[in-house]
C-alpha cells in the first residue's frame, strides 16, 4: 500500500500534528490488524464499514474507516522527524498474505531508542 500524498494538515488542540493521507487503495481490516504488531488497536467494527484506530504512543496514531482510501495520522510533534519515515515504511511494506516483520521490527527498535532519548533522555 502506498501513500500517494498528504491532502491536508493542521495543528491539533493537544499539540499533535495531523496529516490526512490519500492512499493508493482502500484500507482493510487486515491492514489495521497488521499495524497491531506495532501498537494498540481500538475498533468499532460495526460502525459504518468499521472504524479502526492504531495508536503508538510518543510516535503517531492512525485512524480510518474500512473501505476508505484516506487515513488521518496524528504525529507527536516532538518526534515527527524521527517517526515519519517509519510511518511510510509501515504503509509501503504492507501486502496481503503472511508477512515477515523482522526488518520492520529491527527498524522499530532503532527508532524507539531515538524517540526515548529525545523525549526522556535515555
Amino acid at each position: 500500500m502506498r501513500i500517494l500524498r498528504s491532502i491536508q494538515h493542521k495543528y491539533c488542540a493537544d499539540g499533535s500534528f495531523m496529516k490526512e493521507f490519500l492512499l493508493d487503495a482502500p484500507v482493510t481490516r487486515e491492514f489495521f490488524l497488521y499495524l497491531g504488531n506495532f501498537g494498540k488497536i481500538d475498533q468499532l467494527p460495526n460502525l459504518g464499514d468499521g472504524f479502526y484506530k492504531f495508536d503508538k504512543p510518543d510516535w503517531f496514531s492512525i485512524k480510518g474507516f474500512i473501505g476508505d482510501s484516506t487515513v488521518e495520522v496524528r504525529f507527536k510533534k516532538e518526534t515527527l522527524e524521527i517517526t515519519v519515515d517509519f510511518l511510510y515504511l509501515l504503509f509501503s511494506s504492507y501486502h496481503e498474505g503472511t508477512m515477515d516483520l523482522t526488518f520492520l521490527k529491527k527498524k522499530e527498535t532503532l527508532r524507539a531508542a531515538r524517540v526515548s532519548k529525545l523525549l526522556y533522555g535515555k
Binding site: C12, A13, D14, L44, L47, D49, F51, I66, G67, D68
Partner: protein, 392 residues
C-alpha cells in the same frame, strides 16, 4: 466509505455559519460588480454605500440610535484587541490596573489579557463559573480598589450559557469599572438592546449568527473617549492632517473597508431582522432541546450543559476521544462538528479536565431533519462504544 453518500450536515455554526442565505451571496456578487465607490476615495458616485448600510443595519439590530458608534473591524478578536489595548493604553497608572475576566472566556479575551499581565501592565483575576454561569455576586466579591476593567463573554462558545450581563454591568458601574462584553456567540441569536444594557463596549462578529463572511466584525462603543485608538492611517477624510481624525467612526477605522464583507454583513442582518430574532431563538431552542433529549437516552453520553440559551451542545461519549467522535461523524455520516478545546481552555479545565469535547452548534438555517439525523448517528456511535449494548 465515502461521506459524500450522505448529505452534508453542518453543525459548526458557532465557528462560522453555513449555509449562507442566498441574499448574502447576491450581495457579495453585486458589491463586486462595480468598482469600490467609497466616500472620499474615488470620484465615482455610482453603486451602493455598503459601509453606511451595514452600520445602519447593525445599529438597528442592536438597538443603538447612534450608528457612528458602531465600528467595523476584521472580526471579534480584532475588536477585543482594539478595545483591550486601547483601554490599557489610556490608563495613567498601569501598575494599578486590575482586570477581571472569567473562565468561560475565549482566547480572544484570555490571550490579550494574559499577554498584558505577563508584560506587568495589568493584574488579572479570572472568575470561575458554576452550571455555566458566572454569578453577579462573584463579580462583586472580586472587585478591588484598583479594579478598572472587566472583559467577559456574553454567551459561552462551549456551553451555550448566556450570562446575566445586565446584573453584572450594574454592579461594575456602581464601582466605576469599565465593562467590555464579547457578543460573538449571541449576536443574531437572541435579542440584544444596547440602550438598556449597562455595557461600555459590545463586540460582535460578522461570520457567525449574522451570516456574513469571515473577515468582518466590529464593536459598539458608548463613549469614544474611553478607548485610546491604537491604529492610525488613511480614512478618506481630512487628508491634509498628518494626525488621525478624532471623530467617530474614523477614530477607530483606518484603511480601506472590506466592502464585499460589509455588503454581506448588511444583507445578513437584514435577513435576521426579516426572520425576527424571537422566531430564530424559538426554533433554536426547540431544535437544541430535541437533540439534548435524544442524546440523554444514551447512558454513556455526557452533556456538559443541559440548558443552553443559544444553540450549542457540548458532549462526550465515554470511552471515546472527542476527536475520534468528530472523525467518525464527519467520515461515516458527513456530519460536521467541532472537537477539542474550542479556543476556550479554561472552560474545558473545569468541565472535562482539559480533554476537550464534541460541540454541535446550529443556526436558523439548520433543519429539523438534520437535527434528527445528527442525533440518530451520535446515538449509533454511542451504542457501538457502549460495552453493555455492544459487547466486544
Amino acid at each position: 466509505m465515502a461521506p459524500s453518500h450522505h448529505p452534508l450536515i453542518y453543525l459548526n455554526n458557532a465557528a462560522t455559519s453555513w449555509p449562507k442565505p442566498p441574499e448574502i451571496m447576491e450581495a457579495i456578487s453585486q458589491s463586486l460588480s462595480l468598482p469600490v465607490f467609497g466616500s472620499g476615495r474615488t470620484t465615482g458616485t455610482q453603486g451602493e454605500d455598503y459601509i453606511t448600510q451595514a452600520r445602519e443595519e447593525l445599529s438597528s439590530l442592536l438597538g443603538e440610535d447612534n450608528q457612528e458608534h458602531i465600528i467595523f473591524t476584521h472580526n471579534a478578536t480584532d475588536s477585543l484587541n482594539i478595545l483591550i489595548s486601547g483601554f490599557i493604553a489610556g490608563q495613567k497608572q498601569k501598575q494599578n490596573c486590575h482586570v477581571l475576566t472569567t473562565a468561560l472566556d475565549h482566547n480572544s479575551v484570555l490571550r490579550p489579557l494574559h499577554e498584558y499581565e505577563r508584560m506587568h501592565q495589568i493584574k488579572l483575576s479570572t472568575l470561575p463559573f458554576e452550571n455555566g454561569m458566572v454569578s453577579p455576586e462573584s463579580v462583586e466579591a472580586a472587585i478591588r480598589d484598583d479594579t478598572r476593567l472587566m472583559v467577559m463573554t456574553h454567551g459561552s462558545n462551549v456551553l451555550g450559557s448566556v450570562q446575566d450581563i445586565s446584573a453584572i454591568g450594574d454592579i461594575l458601574h456602581d464601582h466605576g469599572v469599565y465593562f467590555i462584553v464579547d457578543g460573538a456567540q449571541t449576536t443574531g441569536h437572541i435579542p440584544i438592546d444596547l440602550r438598556h444594557l449597562p455595557v461600555d463596549a459590545f463586540v460582535f462578529t460578522g461570520h457567525k449568527g449574522l451570516f456574513g463572511i469571515p473577515g468582518t466584525g466590529g464593536f459598539y462603543l458608548r463613549d469614544p473617549q474611553t478607548i485610546t485608538p491604537v491604529r492610525f492611517g488613511g480614512t478618506g477624510t481630512n487628508s491634509i492632517s498628518l494626525f488621525h481624525p478624532k471623530g467617530m467612526p474614523e477614530r477607530f477605522e483606518a484603511g480601506t473597508h472590506n466592502y464585499p464583507g460589509l455588503a454581506a454583513l448588511a444583507a445578513g442582518v437584514r435577513f435576521i431582522k426579516e426572520k425576527g430574532i424571537p422566531s430564530i431563538a424559538d426554533k433554536a431552542e426547540h431544535q437544541t432541546f430535541y437533540i439534548i433529549g435524544e442524546l440523554k437516552k444514551e447512558e454513556n453520553i455526557s452533556i456538559y450543559h443541559e440548558n443552553p440559551n443559544i444553540p450549542i451542545i457540548a458532549f462526550n461519549i465515554r470511552g471515546l476521544q472527542n476527536d475520534d467522535v468528530g472523525f467518525m461523524l464527519a467520515r461515516a455520516y458527513n456530519v460536521i462538528t467541532r472537537t477539542g478545546l474550542h479556543c476556550a481552555p479554561l472552560v474545558h479545565k473545569t468541565i472535562d479536565d482539559g480533554e476537550g469535547c464534541v460541540r454541535l452548534s446550529l443556526s436558523c438555517m439548520t433543519t429539523d431533519e438534520e437535527c434528527r439525523i445528527a442525533a440518530d448517528v451520535i446515538r449509533e456511535i454511542a451504542q457501538n462504544a457502549n460495552p453493555a449494548v455492544n459487547p466486544a
